[in-house]
């Protein structure tokens, strides 16, 4: 059996990647153009950004967030990075190093906050003290600090590197339990309201494998390791389930996520929800919350006790 060399869909030159769900192959140049186009479409479709707008991108040092930063800069936005130190041993050290290398090589600004230095606790300590899962404590801390720092630095919009695989896995988790409140909030662009900055996910049209390929082709030296505390979490299981479905029927993941956004999200938005609880400033930190003291302040207080 001889293998026919793949040709780029655009220029018919030698291809470096095949995208089964698009039934297409691309050379390096046109794959990068394809990624740019997907981000451009995402931004346009959900009106995520004004041309040239200032954006803070939350970077973990992994492939997705660094690719997100890179792509937004390519598309002409004024992007600065924010890294939150979680205190997860060498994993956190290596992640910060990757984010710093990326920013330094490109002359970009990276803001760094370390949970331990600023708030006196780490994720492993918080998880142990509160009997939460580490992923729960981490998600809560990130949501809080991303919003706080974006506001403190005067950004109106925060971008995260959630890709198609991430979003489809979260969707599957929410659908399997029909968490209609979470479903109603799962959107690539959440408008600013009540002390929350706008939150956008410019990579929701691009898969995990595509983001790894983008980084490799663009010479972005990212943190390859997965977080050691996330092993075995439900989210990873849902990704495996979706990968099985994708293998059997290429395009399944995209059909699942995009179909939800096209046909189900509007329906959920028009449904009578439970009504938004009133949001006001946390007595501890001033960030928006529905209680007196926000969940982050309570987590921090327990972790430091």
């Amino acid at each position: 059996m001889t293998r026919v060399p793949m040709k780029c869909r655009v220029c018919r030159g030698p291809a470096v990647i095949d995208l089964k769900r698009h039934n297409a192959n691309f050379c390096r140049e046109h794959f990068v153009a394809y990624c740019e186009e997907q981000v451009r479409r995402a931004i346009h479709h959900f009106r995520m950004l004004e041309p040239g707008e200032r954006v803070l991108v939350a970077v973990s040092g992994g492939k997705d967030s660094l690719a997100c930063w890179d792509l937004l800069v390519r598309l002409g936005y004024a992007v600065e990075g924010f890294y939150l130190g979680l205190g997860i041993d060498t994993y956190s050290d290596d992640s910060l190093a990757a984010a710093t290398r990326f920013a330094d090589a490109r002359g970009l600004t990276l803001h760094v906050v370390d949970l331990e230095t600023t708030h006196g606790f780490t994720i492993p300590v918080a998880a142990g003290a509160t009997h939460r899962s580490p992923c729960g404590a981490c998600g809560l801390s990130k949501r809080h600090e991303f919003n706080r720092v974006a506001r403190d630095l005067g950004f109106g919009v925060l971008a995260t590197g959630h890709n198609l695989d991430d979003e489809a896995a979260v969707l599957l988790g929410n659908v399997l339990r029909w968490e209609t409140d979470y479903l109603a909030r799962q959107h690539p662009c959440l408008p600013a309201e009540g002390g929350f900055v706008r939150k956008i996910k410019p990579l929701y049209r691009l898969g995990e494998r595509e983001m790894a390929a983008y980084c490799i082709l663009e010479g972005i030296d990212y943190q390859v390791d997965e977080c050691p505390m996330a092993a075995g979490n439900r989210h990873i299981g849902f990704k495996e389930t979706l990968n099985d479905l994708e293998r059997r029927s290429p395009g399944s993941k995209a059909a699942f996520l995009f179909g939800f956004l096209d046909r189900m999200a509007p329906l959920l938005a028009q449904a009578d929800g439970p009504g938004d609880a009133e949001v006001h400033a946390c007595a501890g930190c001033g960030e928006p919350t529905t209680g007196d003291v926000c969940a982050f302040c309570r987590l921090r207080d327990k972790a430091r006790a």
Copy 2:
């Protein structure tokens, strides 16, 4: 390691089955009572039947449809069976034999229609002639003949043996593509309208494994083979996916299906749909259709051409 014998949740006698999603074990007697109770709840919750109402149950000779017939009789309904001969070689012969044995042993009435004798074609021939999948041609034929025969025999309601696993798998298939029209119609009780009899699924709360156990414990000698034409169809793949999820997290399937029925189905029902197309009698057979000639008549004409 010594294995602790399982005890029945109800009587503490020796158990014969463990139901992980209920975290419960049952002896034979209380397992049968559990199955009855689940069917009673299904009927009550969706107002499927009036007490003692006449029901036609569609039987394939497999475990689910025979268990459905058995359980409805136990609960005091006046149930007759209907078997549709599909012409799938020895599989169809064996299936009819199982249904006949069941009915004869209990003095119940089984109505039989054979597609080839009555309509001049078999499912394998129809699938070949129309380039449909066999499952597509079979589903279409069943929907048509179940409704036609129920009406001809004067029944106002048709029961099918769809179980929790079937319904969850169909739901997953529809959700993965967000087929909102199909989702809006996926319900354990579809009321009679425009020439269609009421359609009910009294087993939607009971899993596949439970129905196999029920038949074995009740001495129901069912057709064990799966249909040879269904091998590799999408539905079976979705069942495997859900079985994987269930293994990781017992109760997933039930949470998925019941959550949909509780929280999503009402939302879909209240949404502005595309509007029901007008239904009238098929020029060929008189059954309800939205076209001039119904899909079954067109299938039959192609299969006989």
